[in-house]
Structure formats: structure tokens, C-alpha cells
Symmetry: none
Subunit: 245 residues, 2 copies
């Protein structure tokens, strides 16, 4: 099993310095580190590129610039090439979701190759890849911005790792579910107040309270929230006894 | 089963015109059409924005500009809000992959909400969502560029389309969800009553109402249930004006 940081992200003849900066940023977001630029057609270290990279600027500054796709692939054992459309490649096009995990499967160095903004990878460049992916999209306008296409692929790769350890804590530890006993106390209290304000009448109380119980029961009410709901009831009762003159 | 084109993409206070343009482009790539901007902090129709939109420029030009998140949500019945980090929201954070299909499940209008580039959605803004998603990413640098974050979510939605046709309907067809507009009306009404009984005071109203919104938002309230809750409020008000002698 390989690490995401071992995957080289190779851009062939990128022409937009801002795109390169954005790609450095999303690489950092998704834990990638190795950016390789083949014959860039712009200054990849421009101020604009650095501005777009934000905290990924170290990745931008460490980017390797090479003069051929073959040298970019030096040392790699697996490579996937991206394309926006089928080009008569005699190998099936796959989706990022189904194919990208393959780059992580074995303990090897691997690469993901993207073409220039205006034309994508040529057939010759594509032939450096062993597998080919195409991002599913609107057949009437399939051409994603380069940085977006890289973002989607890196997101898929990040997802295909076991990233459960990285996922942020979703619920603060202090939250505690309301006990069923406390819930029951609330329903009794609510029924009493609703009878008092003539929303409920003794003979109609049960079916209405059942609807209310079903509604509250599906919320997995927390103890704090229950305390809030009871606070509202108590304050209602107080105000009924002490109306504003 | 709803169509992707029925999902509103809502940007709260976006500050980068190029980002807005990029978002229009990726919306077109993924078959979305409805862009709504809440108080944009830049010119969303600038030349730079149009340049970035490329063939998505029609989406940009048709973008709706509104002055509040509540009005952006008019007519929507399901809303998912995005966040880059847990903020002590007592509702589980989900991933785009697990949660987004829900926007397509039923034949309703729904929305996906993104916050401003620099700060993300505030707790108050988040409380307009019923579910919350966070894009899995590097815990040391989780903050994606806004257009990238939108791109990843739209890609996930585009991918989930085919599968969502197989989802079992989770709610029987006869039940109709409360519209977000009607929910908003209820929250306003509740706040008024709670101020009247001195449960709320003007300076504490907002955080308490946020807790209440989160609680109710996660119930997927049905139109009938909302009518019941409003009936209770109206009866409370009536009783306060007509106390038992």
C-alpha cells in the first residue's frame, strides 16, 4: 500500500500560472506533495501563482520542471492519464472513482498525468499512461478547468485512502442524549400546558400528543435541547400566571 | 426523484469574481443551472468572472442576486450547508458522498449552500441547513478554494444521479415536506412569542433561536406537523391575551 504523497502530479505544458498555483493549493488540501511540470508555457513561480497557492506555496516552490513527459515519469511504475474525451484509444476509458485507487494499491511510485488547458493530452502523450480516466460530466460541455479536474481527481484519491482517521470529530463529546425518562416528563409537561391554553381538550389530547411524540422522537433529542424545551414551557406557564398588564 | 438542474447553488457573500465565474463553468460542466448569490462582495458579472465562466457564461448572466440567505432559500424544501470545520454543531457532519444524494431523492426543490471565501458560513447561516457536509481533506490545511469546493460537491452530485434512481423513497409520497419558506415563517413567529413571554430577550435571541432551528431542521418537518406547531403558537398567543380569570 503506497502513500498519497508518493504520487506525482504531472502537468504537461500548463499555460496558466494561476491554475498551477490553484493546483499546488488543492494538492496541499489533499496531502499530495510532488508536482512535476513538463515544459510549462508560463512562469509557474509568478506572484499570481504563489497567491493562488496560499498555504500550498511550498509545493509550488518545490515543483520539478522537466523537458519531457518521459523524464517526468522517471522512477514511476504506474501511470494514469486523463482525457476529456475518447480519442480512439484502444483501451477503455474509466472513471476516476473506479481507476484511481490502483495508484495506491502497490508499494510503488506512481503518477497522474494532466494535459494542457487548451488541447488536453495528445495521443502520443496519452500513450505514456497505462490506464485512462475521464471525469463524468455534461456531454455538451465536458471540458473542466484544469485546476478543477486536478481537484476532483485528488479528492477521489484522498477518499480512496482509508481516511477515517483524518475525519474531524463530528459531535462535541459533551453532547448527551436525553433519557427516555426525561423525554416522558417533557411530554407530560407539554400536555398539561397545551390543555391549559386550550390547544388540547381531554378527548383530543391523545392523538395530537402522539403526533408530537413522533416528531420529537425522531430528533434524537439531546439533554441540553430537552432542557431548553422545558425552559420554554416553564416560562409559558409563568407568563400565563403573570400576564403583562 | 428530482433533477440536478432543480438544485440551487447558493453562494453567501462571495468576494472573488473569478471564483464566481469558475463556479458558473463547473456548474455547466455538471449540468447545474441555478446560481444564487447572497450579498456578493464583488461584481459577479465582471469581465474576469465572464472570462472564467467560459461556456458557463449563461449561468453567470442568469445568476440571481438576493439580500438574504432566507430569500435565497425561497421555495426550497431541502438544504445542505457546507463547512470546512466542525464548529460545535450538535448535528453530525457528513461527507459529500454520503449526504448529497439526499438533495435528489424526492421530487422537491433543494439547495446547496457555500460560505464566503475567508470565513465560511457562520453558525447563524449554517442553521438554515438541515444537513451539514465537510469535504474530507488534510487536517493541517482543510481550507479548499471556494470554486474547488463547489466543483467537488457538484461532481459528487453528478455522480450520484444514476444511483439515486435506485434509492428507496424514504418518505411516503403522501407526506409533503414543509417548505423552507414556511419554516422560516414559523421561526419568526416562535421568536416573537418567546420574546413576548420573556423566554428570549433581544440580545440573547439569536444563539437560542439557532439551537432551536438546528433541532427542528434535522426533523425533516412535514407540512402537517408545521401546521400543528404554528397552531400551538397561535393558541399560546390567544391565551396570553385572554387569560383565565
Amino acid at each position: 500500500m503506497s502513500l498519497i504523497s508518493n504520487i506525482k502530479i504531472i502537468l504537461v505544458e500548463p499555460a496558466g500560472d494561476r491554475n498551477i498555483g490553484s493546483i499546488a493549493r488543492v494538492m496541499k488540501n489533499m496531502c499530495f506533495t510532488q508536482l512535476v511540470l513538463v515544459n510549462p508555457k508560463c512562469d509557474p513561480f509568478s506572484e499570481d501563482a504563489q497567491m493562488m497557492a496560499v498555504h500550498g506555496v511550498d509545493i509550488l516552490k518545490n515543483a520539478m520542471v522537466v523537458d519531457s513527459l518521459a523524464s517526468a515519469l522517471n522512477g514511476c511504475q504506474r501511470a494514469i492519464a486523463t482525457t476529456a474525451r475518447p480519442r480512439g484509444i484502444p483501451t477503455p476509458l474509466e472513471t476516476p472513482r473506479t481507476a484511481l485507487g490502483w495508484l495506491l494499491e502497490a508499494n510503488v511510485t506512481s503518477a497522474l498525468i494532466f494535459g494542457p488547458e487548451d488541447r488536453g493530452l495528445s495521443n502520443q502523450e496519452l500513450s505514456h499512461g497505462q490506464r485512462f480516466i475521464c471525469i463524468p460530466s455534461n456531454p455538451e460541455y465536458p471540458s473542466l478547468n484544469l485546476a478543477q479536474a486536478v481537484g476532483v481527481c485528488l479528492y477521489e484519491l484522498y477518499q480512496s485512502q482509508d481516511n477515517s482517521q483524518n475525519y474531524p470529530e463530528t459531535i462535541p463529546e459533551t453532547t448527551e442524549l436525553a433519557s427516555l425518562e426525561a423525554l416522558e416528563g417533557y411530554y407530560q409537561h407539554l400536555e398539561k400546558v397545551l390543555l391549559e391554553v386550550n390547544y388540547l381538550y381531554p378527548h383530543t389530547a391523545q392523538p395530537k400528543m402522539e403526533k408530537f411524540r413522533r416528531l420529537i422522537n425522531r430528533t434524537n433529542l439531546q439533554a441540553q435541547e430537552l432542557a431548553m424545551l422545558r425552559g420554554i414551557l416553564r416560562q409559558m406557564e409563568w407568563k400565563l400566571k403573570n400576564p403583562t398588564p
